[in-house]
Symmetry: C2
Subunit: 330 residues, 2 copies
């Protein structure tokens, strides 16, 4: 069934040591010997046991990333950027899902048990236990999509509130006054709250009413845009625009405008966040904050690999810039 290094060695008429060298230090083995070993290995369907290898050597090239959700394109991009970079460095990326900080602690325990070379976390909300476990393990870790200081080791991200602030300014500068916020009230609410704070700061600075806020607990929130418009209209009949916590919510708002026969942006303006694929396609095009998810993933990989291989990093915190993409909706 599953053959071992010893099996291959016996079949090839060499010692296990030589088989090992064929994989780890090929140049140390006579070409002929190596070819024979590799040929018999292939014939036996031998796959080196990484479990044994990593136990014996105390090293491995596995990075494990933890995300709160798989159905979030920002995280998907981060994972892709991270994966591409790690592949180029011959590290392997493994993924785990943890919906909330409590679950994350469990998941981290399992991950640590496997002694990875590094860990990538999403966001900055972790239980004390998670932080303690990771710190005690000494495994390098980077928190992604972080807008504040790292709570554990290293971090990459940008200011979520600055991005929302900039977007809100853009809407205000169009001359609009009655602007609402469609937000989320979900487990990983810190990230959503920061965006909301950016919105409120911009509104207050402009001397505008900053309490037209509607929060939804739905994670996949096309409906959120519709509900926000309905709810905010009751608080302020003159509502002219909606700034949204994500493009999905914003797209929902756009669908609702279409349903009501409202011209966008003449009758109503909508601002998104995330620059998902849908932003470019939903008419009349969604003005959105474009975050560089892949860049964040790549930066996380760079930090990790540098830390793993040199034991230190140039700077523990990396900023990956965002930009505002202006389309037809604002």
């Amino acid at each position: 069934m599953k053959s071992t290094m010893a099996d291959v060695a016996a079949a090839a008429g060499v010692s296990p040591m030589t088989v090992s060298n064929c994989y780890k230090h090929p140049h140390k083995v006579h070409a002929e010997t190596r070819e024979k070993v590799l040929a018999t290995a292939a014939a036996l369907g031998y796959v080196p046991n990484l479990i044994a290898s990593s136990l014996a050597s105390g090293h491995n090239r596995t990075i494990t990333a933890v995300v709160p959700s798989l159905s979030n394109s920002s995280f998907a991009r981060t994972l892709e950027g991270l994966g591409d970079f790690l592949e180029s460095q011959r590290y392997e990326l493994l993924l785990a899902v943890a919906e909330d900080p409590q679950r994350e602690t469990q998941v981290i325990r399992g991950i640590l048990g496997r002694r990875p070379a590094g860990i990538v976390l999403t966001g900055g909300e972790h239980t004390q236990e998670t932080i303690r476990l990771i710190q005690q393990s000494g495994v390098p870790v980077v928190e992604t999509w972080l807008s504040s200081a790292p709570s554990i080791d290293m971090a990459v991200g940008f200011s979520l509130s600055d991005a929302a602030y900039d977007m809100t300014r853009l809407v205000i500068d169009k001359g609009l006054r009655h602007i609402g916020w469609a937000g989320h009230n979900l487990p990983d609410s810190q990230r959503y709250l920061q965006r909301q704070q950016g919105f409120q700061k911009a509104m207050e600075e402009a001397g505008l009413r900053s309490d037209l806020i509607h929060l939804t607990a739905e994670s996949e929130g096309f409906a959120g845009g519709r509900l926000a418009i309905e709810a905010l209209l009751k608080k302020e009949r003159r509502l002219q625009a909606l700034c949204c916590v994500t493009d999905v919510v914003a797209a929902g708002a756009l669908f609702e405008c279409a349903r009501r026969g409202w011209k966008v942006p003449a009758r109503f303006a909508v601002a998104g966040y995330g620059d998902y694929q849908i932003a470019a396609e939903v008419p009349p095009g969604l003005t959105s904050v474009k975050t560089n998810g892949a860049g964040i993933g790549r930066a996380a990989g760079e930090l990790l690999v540098q830390k793993i291989e040199t034991g230190q990093v140039d700077d523990r915190v990396r900023r990956v810039p965002y930009e505002i993409i202006v389309r037809g909706s604002v």
Copy 2:
């Protein structure tokens, strides 16, 4: 830094064996002893080394799933369904991404090196090398989203072509004659091709023109819907409806209808596939094939766990039914 079982044993004044038993067979250890051991373990921040454990025991509770993409909500649902079930059975789910069959072979090699308890694959397109490696390893594997017979071991899915056939029939039964297909021409094209075949079969059976086909190579294809309408209109000016390979493509088609001022479904009908979140939200609501992604994931988990724990399964192939959700677009 990272303490071992021996460290804990020494600190607690017992043998390593007893520490091990505290985790594996708690009832075999005197309550007092156990408490002392667990307390000192916690104090030392000890996390059992699963690498060593699994090497010594020859067992582990890790299932690794391979998906071609993270930004596909069907697969995301499958992984969620799988993850929930495995969690309930105290197995751990690890994920790996492989964009195409070649990359999958590499990834599988790494996975096999880690000797998982089971493997979940997506779709039925695998290299011969992948199949050989897995079969030789003897690790149980289930292919998901499969419409044909398993090429390796076990499978769960449904007939992709039947689903597309049923949907096309629905459109035809509305009295529409000039119906196009917006498809994909991507690496994992088998799955897309099968849907297309279902479309063509329905058209041919109805004695209708079945060559109004437009394929796009874009993976995130809102644009695909627009391009299909543009291209097919040149081939057939009377085009009345579009059946789409995914809801994303269909949503794009709907956006294009809005842009052209076409009433849906009076002037133009659009059928989707997948029943993604967007289907319910994009006006006037997308009629779509609802696949049970979570159900597929769960069934895959059930097959795997049964095979792992009993060495056999009742039936190697499981069908997870789909349904057609009728909304406003057809």
